[in-house]
Symmetry: C2
Subunit: 306 residues, 2 copies
């Protein structure tokens, strides 16, 4: 096999109470990549369709992730990468992670899978470092492993894959404003009260429990972010109204996707998830902000060969 | 049924990364209570064997918990309570919780179980309020429900029961120094960094995951308390040595039991748990502090009728 075509899914990091540790993988939103093994050493980004991003490998998240993997594996060949971007950059649903994870996944497959998907996380993170300034794993992990992922630790890197309950659906609304990850980081408070941290732990623990027991009500009760949402949500137009409208439509709950500006809701069943999308849209139509809505199952496996 | 004899187990609150939210129930350490339905309204503590505690119901944790339940149920009878204390007061393994939970459990049973065990948590908490100044649920919940419990929220009260992996054993060492819950609280920092809170969330989420998937290695990796142990452990003689010795003996990890002074370790299998007890004892023997060690399976059901 000298060429591989893959679907690189969008992902939601943080997932409300799971700030900086939890992520989930979408099924029906994602980029496409074609990766070709060549005799020419190194990595070449040959084409990017649908986005204005640098083709120079060292300045491209897919290129940087690919190069870090090649630096480790030292194969006697190179790779051409063609990317069709469907995930908008800066949307908060893991656009850079899809490219970074896709690049390392595809190259690893073309080399006969010397590394496991879990081992690829580290290399995909190097692409994320280029995009956001820090090599975080909360989007590349669900992109590579599917379902929900918990980044337990960075030192050493320890990521746990958690199967999503089968009826859990995601609704995402992307208000098309510019909100840089770095700016969304800068509003965070460096210190928080021990009391709030304890509440966050209670909700995160409950959410993990709800995922394993497929207890949708419990999942809904736990979708409460005590630490980050209160300060970060002020950067997102109509955030409180969006969240409330989704709940009124029957969603279990929701929050900010990644560092925003996208907002997500989780629902039991596709029908409710579609109603939440309509509710999201109705709120956004009260503004002049253009938007895009997605409804998706949770992707159980992550990146797929097309 | 006019009389009931029950075993009221010791419990471990906090469980390392689970500060103020997690608890677990011991199998082989606990008090005994005999509760008798009488024609005389109200609650009478008729005898306490093994401890010097107040017999006046309003000043006794079992009495206060019982009275709060009677205030709710308004039965046309009263109850006599006899307690045999085996759990030392102030040991940090839920001595007051065993009494408070036992009282409400026994009375509820004698009244034909109008409330579920989960509903009893609220009333048992009122006894805890007398003991420690705050109506916390992290010991009474595992005492009533067994296994591990997660106190997700106090407002509203939301407690999740989690089955313990079958091979998980607990070792407890009780250095017999006086360490009041209030003092152990006073050393805590009111504010912590968001970064530390995130690490704690990662470990708590991982621990919950490990419990559901019976992944003992993961459980061990997650037994790391970023928030409380660093400051509270200075109040416990030889804490670092105890923890390290248990790990060297093969334990998965450990931490402070409740607010101390007891220290616990979790192990896979009883043999390792017994080795951890020997390792604990060897460290304590280097000091002049008297101590008591326990090895126990995790109690799957909580309080038991004898």
């Amino acid at each position: 096999m000298n060429e591989i075509q893959i679907f690189c899914p969008a992902t939601i990091a943080n997932v409300s109470c799971g700030f900086d540790v939890l992520g989930l993988c979408l099924e029906s939103v994602g980029d496409e990549m074609t990766i070709t093994k060549t005799d020419r050493m190194g990595v070449r980004i040959t084409d990017i369709i649908g986005a204005n991003l640098p083709l120079e490998a060292e300045k491209n998240v897919a290129g940087v992730a690919a190069l870090s993997l090649l630096h480790h594996l030292l194969p006697n060949c190179g790779f051409d990468i063609k990317i069709t971007k469907n995930i908008k950059a800066g949307s908060g649903i893991g656009s850079s992670a899809a490219s970074a994870a896709g690049a390392v996944y595809g190259i690893n497959k073309l080399l006969g899978s010397p590394l496991t998907d879990k081992e690829l996380i580290y290399f995909a993170m190097q692409g994320e470092a280029l995009a956001s300034g820090s090599p975080h794993a909360d989007n590349v992990s669900p992109a590579l492993l599917g379902g929900f992922t918990l980044v337990r630790s960075y030192d050493p890197l320890d990521v746990i894959a958690i199967t999503a309950p089968p009826e859990l659906y995601v609704t995402v609304i992307h208000p098309q404003i510019e909100l840089k990850t770095k700016d969304a980081r800068s509003v965070l408070k460096e210190n928080i009260s021990l009391k709030k941290a304890t509440i966050q732990c209670g909700n995160l623990g409950g959410l993990i429990s709800g995922l394993y027991t497929q207890n949708y009500d419990l999942i809904g009760r736990c979708l409460h972010d005590e630490l980050v949402e209160p300060v970060r949500s002020i950067l997102i137009p109509k955030f409180a109204e969006l969240k409330e409208a989704a709940k009124q439509a029957g969603a279990l709950g929701g929050g900010i996707s990644g560092s925003g500006p996208s907002v997500f809701a989780l629902s039991r069943g596709e029908t409710t998830a579609r109603k939440a999308a309509e509710a999201f849209a109705a709120i956004m139509q009260q503004t002049s902000v253009p938007f895009e809505a997605h409804v998706s199952a949770i992707n159980p496996t992550g990146i797929k060969i097309m």
